[in-house]
Subunit: 197 residues, 4 copies
DNA sequence: GATGAATGAGCCTTCATTCAT
DNA sequence: GATGAATGAAGGCTCATTCAT
């Protein structure tokens, strides 16, 4: 029999990341994904139920990794809350920094998923934000962080800011080099904008 | 007195905001927009060239208002840079705070526009961010702001954070009340997270 | 506005009868039906939900007419059971005798419907056969008919025989002229094959 | 001893009967037939040219048996025409009575074959009906049968009636037990419905 | 201008068939 | 011969857009 080449699913997923990132979910044509993956159109359906399930697969993997990384950081005992915030920010950029297409996908097509499926992806999102909240509250209890801040909102601020800079980096990597981005985002969120202190 | 015939374009635009926000640009059907506007399907094409141009029209208006507001703030002489930053944040929330659908539209469908048209909307976006940069740099020159911050990145941080909280507010207004959101965002960006000072 | 031409649904249905009859349900292409109806492909979907619903529509109409005709005959008081049997046979041929395509459709695609939908079409079928049974039993009670016959089976015999001859007529009208067919079927079922009496 | 390898063609044919009967020719998937036969998908094509040829093979075998049986009966010298008619009816039910799937296949998918191939299957069909005609005419000549009957039509009547009852039996064996079915069909065709004699 | 029925290009998906192993 | 992954042609259906009234 013809052997499974073994990486067809990977190649399709990788091609889908590129095509979804470039053309958007709706602009992406299955035939195009197949071509970029170097497989026949029909082969896509050997590995994925349908177009939407490809997106689900990609976001599933993404969120699982993100979640695992955050979870690990959030529960570490050797880090202060301050350090955890920095580490979490680093993990986000580690996750997406390898692949601009992945960043664009995440940044642009997330809302597709939140729209339809009240289930899985919403849950990932909520869980992720709750982990952030927990770290912030931990820092507030320990006195590291200001206690007049709303932990949930702060987490959202960081998430939104990271999302935006990821987007910018993916669009113009030269103008938004990741090391600078990381440094800035940490600095601003931790120390604020004001000079005097 | 309602002029049934005199405001068709407005009614179409308003319906489009709702439908785009609810169903996404691709999920939105022209016939649905027409129905919600109380207009025949064909009439949509009397006022708009095509589906995309409705989106363009909406974002045009949005960006124009945003831009005018920012421009005015940025050039005021009676405000410190610090105050300008706060004012700009307020203006963003003023702009979208009236209408959750508008916020969802702005937050979710922006990337449609950045994708295809390298022109108009990219320009608005860039101009807007440059105005922000200018204000930040002004504050750095005057010594109000830390000078180890990258002005462009800071502006993006604020933009991304505001976008995220706008999104959350539009999804769950109770959990993200706008007054709190404004206060938090200003506080975090200006003073940072750390307690010690 | 462009006026509904008023008979598009009829033209599509008529074309569908021809195409279904010629190519079979699965061999029939929507585009072909549309072309034969003189409408655009998409127009088919203005009048019918999908391909299957066209078939349903056709059989619905067919069974409704058949049923009404049988019902009327079965309840008439001015006819003997013998005459009712003859009248029912006539009605079947009246129904299909106008249009060979209709006969082929009925004869060949009935099983499509019985397969999937345990509901509607099965019911028509069962109801129809029950009406036949009732007439036969009526004749048995009155002494017109032999009482050693199973009424349900007799009805099926007639139905099957009529179906077969309808098929043959539709395939070769010259060799199976309807008047002869009617006469033969009545004669055989009523008097049997044997000469001696 | 079961020879796993020696009867693949038989197993495929047997599986095809079940699947065609259950799902219809078009609803039947080759992969499904292969699975039910305990064979790889590709192996089907080692034994059959394509999907249609499986159907052809099945009907070929069916018709060949039917034809041989009828031929034998038709030429027997020890039977009256009357007895031959009864014997032929018996042979039909013998043929299909073993296997409801076979009956459903024969009854539902015959038209697939008559459609495309003007050749082989049409010939079987015609030959079969001609054998029937011959027997009827023989009975007419000998004075056993009424001579006001059209032999060809009578044969079709029997064929159609048998087909219908076979179908009903296959769908609901309890309600249409074969022995009763045989008896009824013979009785009706030979003696007719009327009581008086 | 207004209407909404009509249009038809385009895409996702299926599945009979092939072929490398 | 046997396998089953891979292929790609084909068709049902959608929906933005048009246009006769």
């Amino acid at each position: 029999m013809r052997q499974k080449s073994g990486d067809k699913d990977k190649r399709i997923a990788a091609a889908a990341i590129r095509v979804f990132a470039r053309d958007g979910f709706h602009g992406a044509k299955i035939t195009r994904i197949a071509r970029e993956a170097g497989v026949a159109t029909g082969s896509v359906y050997l590995y994925f139920k349908n177009k939407e399930s490809i997106l689900h697969h990609l976001f599933d993997a993404l969120w699982k990794e993100l979640h695992a990384a955050f979870d690990e950081v959030a529960h570490r005992r050797d880090l202060t809350a301050h350090e955890k915030v920095e580490e979490i920010i680093d993990r986000i950029f580690d996750q997406f920094g390898r692949d601009p297409s992945l960043a664009l996908l995440f940044v642009n097509e997330q809302h597709q998923l939140l729209r339809q499926e009240s289930g899985r992806f919403m849950q990932y999102y909520v869980d992720f934000l709750q982990l952030g909240e927990r770290v912030v509250r931990e820092g507030m209890r320990s006195g590291e962080f200001r206690s007049d801040i709303d932990a949930r909102m702060f987490t959202n601020l960081v998430f939104g800011a990271a999302r935006q800079l990821l987007h910018q980096w993916a669009r113009a990597p030269r103008q938004f080099p990741l090391p600078t981005v990381r440094r800035q985002i940490k600095s601003v969120f931790l120390h604020g904008l004001l000079a005097s202190r």
